[in-house]
């Protein structure tokens, strides 16, 4: 099983962006790492010391089979084990909206990592707004392809929501990248970005 969102919408673009951010030789933790594709790529091409956490056993097996050091567990609890500042980068790609306690997860990411790279689908994208406005139902589109009753998403956030949280929590935002399809969005990200990537630091 692949993460359909990453595969279909981002294709390899999220890898390109994340790998462009991460310098060679870094220590990286990928949360919700799936079958370890990104970790394996980082190890191969950037000589990165990469670890992963994934909940689904099939994906964990696939990740270990390709040589990735992946731990089968829940990111909401297993992050507690790691010592402070154990990693240079902690990646959370397309999983924030699926966590039960996103704030706790983000705080923990910044505890165990010097930087957090958070990528999430933007609920503020105009297509979502229009789908909701015109159908009068829970929005379902390319970004949020699930029926309300079997969606893995527990929280719905926009670019502006996340920026507000960063300001409130006093997290310095080092970099933002906004994406629509295969290209970067320059203006009105809260309206135009399908996916937002934030790099925040632990001060």
């Amino acid at each position: 099983m692949k993460r359909p969102f990453v595969q279909n919408v981002l294709s390899r673009l999220d890898y390109k962006i994340i790998t462009a951010i991460i310098p060679p030789g870094s220590r990286v933790l990928d949360l919700g790492c799936g079958d370890g594709e990104l970790i394996a790529w980082l190890m191969e091409h950037k000589d990165v010391d990469a670890r992963g956490v994934e909940l689904l056993p099939d994906l964990v097996q696939a990740a270990i089979a390709r040589g990735a050091s992946v731990y089968q567990g829940d990111i909401e609890t297993s992050l507690n084990d790691y010592p402070d500042q154990a990693f240079d980068y902690v990646i959370l790609s397309q999983t924030l909206q699926q966590t039960r306690h996103p704030l706790q997860v983000l705080r923990n990411m910044l505890r165990v990592g010097k930087r957090a790279i958070v990528a999430f689908p933007n609920f503020g994208h105009y297509s979502v707004r229009l789908a909701h406005l015109f159908s009068g139902r829970a929005p379902r589109n390319r970004l949020f392809p699930y029926d309300w009753y079997d969606s893995p998403n527990l929280h719905f956030l926009t670019v502006d929501d996340f920026e507000t949280l960063c300001a409130k929590e006093n997290w310095p935002v080092e970099r933002t990248i906004f994406l629509a399809g295969q290209r970067e969005v320059e203006r009105l990200p809260n309206l135009m970005a399908e996916v937002a990537v934030f790099v925040i630091t632990s001060r």
């Binding site: 056993p57 097996q61 270990i64 089979a65 040589g67 990735a68 010592p83």
Partner: protein, 379 residues
């Protein structure tokens, strides 16, 4: 059918002058029975030690020259298998205290010229590992690519990582624990009491006489129950009767599960020494990786190896929580650890039976470790 000569293996024995044990006694001399498979490469970086479980021996793979038996891990160790002997040099040794060639309670005490029996010193998992280290040194290997094993073999892998951090690049503890729980000690004690209450045991002095076969067989029956699961027993035996259609209202082995356990028990006594059962179960019960350290995490402080920890869903003898304790402590020290709980209905036996999934995990893990090691050697 002709067996390729490369598959036929012979257990070899090397004798070391002495070994100082945890209990304070020094054994001298000490024999270590071992087998090897595949070829050691020129850089000596492809050696893997596999550690057997409680009742195993040095014969992990290939066909035994002595008796034609396949090895206890024949599905995992061999050409093209998880521990690929076309690529790696695999070593397996009988544990200290055992009865398959390595010095144990059945060995002759050089001073008295009689079997040690219960005068044999109590040995520990760490002692077993120290003997393996002597063997590795003897074979000219300074750093193992990996140490792997299930159950008691898994305890040895953990002890290797802690005792000889510079001598192991990776360890693969499977279906194991960092220390025996009260329940695990309890099952072992039932086995020991079964042996020691057999009148033929004679305080361990049965060598040359009639061995305590009944006690040992019952001990093994208990063991087999703990190796299976409710589901696997249901599937394998259910309530099926053996060679009869109705209950006989007697105490013969009428249920298939009864007959199976009796068969496994009686088979075991022909290949295992009752005193070794006592000594090896005691070594397992004594095992506590955190002993002498502030915590399990502190015990792992010295380790430098990569870890691949595997547990199985239906294993209630070495349950997943015990593997998670290991993994959690390793993560607390930010050690390189991969962990997976494999689905299986086989219970503890899964580590010998779930070959396909373990093969994928072990192959990928070893391959990555070997590339890391080779790269460091090259640079």
């Amino acid at each position: 059918m002709d067996i390729p000569s490369s598959m036929v293996v012979e257990t070899q024995i090397v004798t070391f002058p002495s070994l100082a044990l945890d209990c304070g006694v020094t054994l001298s001399p000490v024999d270590c029975a071992y087998e090897t498979y595949g070829e050691l490469n020129a850089a000596r970086t492809n050696a893997i030690l596999v550690c057997h479980a409680f009742s195993g021996d040095a014969h992990a793979a290939g066909i035994s020259k002595e008796d034609g038996r396949p090895g206890w891990w024949e599905d995992m160790v061999g050409p093209g298998l998880a521990f690929d002997t076309d690529k790696y040099f695999v070593i397996c040794a009988n544990v200290l205290g055992g009865c398959r060639g390595t010095t144990g309670p059945g060995s002759i005490n050089p001073i008295t010229k009689a079997p040690f029996a219960m005068t044999f010193p109590v040995v520990t998992i760490n002692d077993m590992v120290r003997l393996q280290k002597l063997l590795i040194d003897h074979l000219g290997i300074t750093r193992l690519l990996s140490v792997s094993g299930g159950s008691m073999g898994g305890m040895q892998t953990l002890a290797w990582a802690v005792l000889f951090p510079d001598a192991v690049a990776s360890v693969i503890p499977i279906a194991t624990t960092s220390r025996h729980s009260a329940q695990q000690i309890a099952f072992n004690e039932v086995g020991r009491q079964s042996i020691m209450s057999d009148p033929d045991w004679l305080d361990g002095g049965y060598y040359g006489l009639k061995p305590p076969k009944r006690g040992l067989a019952v001990a093994r029956m208990v063991g087999h129950i703990t190796y299976m699961s409710d589901d696997s027993m249901k599937e394998k035996f259910g309530r099926r009767l053996r060679q009869r259609a109705e209950l006989g209202y007697d105490f013969s082995a009428e249920f298939e599960v009864e007959s199976y356990l009796r068969y496994r028990g009686s088979q075991f006594v022909d290949r295992f020494d009752a005193n070794s059962y006592l000594y090896i179960t005691k070594a397992m019960d004594y095992f506590d990786l955190a002993a002498g350290h502030a915590s399990l995490g502190a015990a792992f402080e010295a380790t430098r190896a990569r870890f691949l920890v595997i547990s199985f869903t239906s294993d209630w003898l070495y349950p997943t929580y015990q593997s998670l304790e290991i993994v959690s402590a390793l993560r607390g020290r930010n050690r390189d650890v991969a962990y997976c709980e494999l689905p299986s209905t086989y219970g503890h036996d899964a580590f010998l039976l779930e070959v396909e999934e373990q093969t994928d995990l072990v192959r990928g893990f070893l391959d990555r470790t070997f590339r890391n090691v080779s790269r460091k050697v090259a640079s």
